[in-house]
Symmetry: C2
Subunit: 81 residues, 2 copies
């Protein structure tokens, strides 16, 4: 099994209310110099595939189900093969 980490975040320019809340919360707690906070999702899963087959399967799962391509971008990395 291969462990894959998929990172999903809203596209540049799409409003990210959760990011705004985190940023203002940090400022209120006294953390200065915090900028451009974006909150997204991380999905870790194990797949029974490797190499190109793995990449194809992750791309297919993301476009079919996990990611909204209108407002979200994703990337993935293999954590453990």
């Amino acid at each position: 099994m291969t462990t894959v980490r998929i990172l999903i975040s809203s596209k540049e320019g799409v409003f990210d209310p959760e990011g705004k809340v985190v940023q203002s919360g940090l400022e209120r707690l006294g953390y200065a110099g915090v900028a451009r906070v974006r909150v997204g999702k991380v999905i870790e899963l194990e797949l029974d595939a490797t190499g190109d087959e793995l990449a194809d399967q992750v791309a297919s799962m993301c476009s079919a189900f996990l990611v909204n391509p209108v407002i979200e971008d994703y990337s993935f990395e293999v954590v453990e093969a």
Copy 2:
């Protein structure tokens, strides 16, 4: 400014309903061999710090606000210095 990516996931053993939903959804769509799905959060932010100061600031923000240490673990990486 340094761009930091904080990965927050529920601890091993903590029930992850969102992960279960994603896993059963993928199975229903015909993706076989998907296991151990965990859904977490990723927070990307820019900080005006580097090195040890950066690590201290991220650890402080996580323990004070971003992470629930009872049920969540976190890790972070510098994306862009």
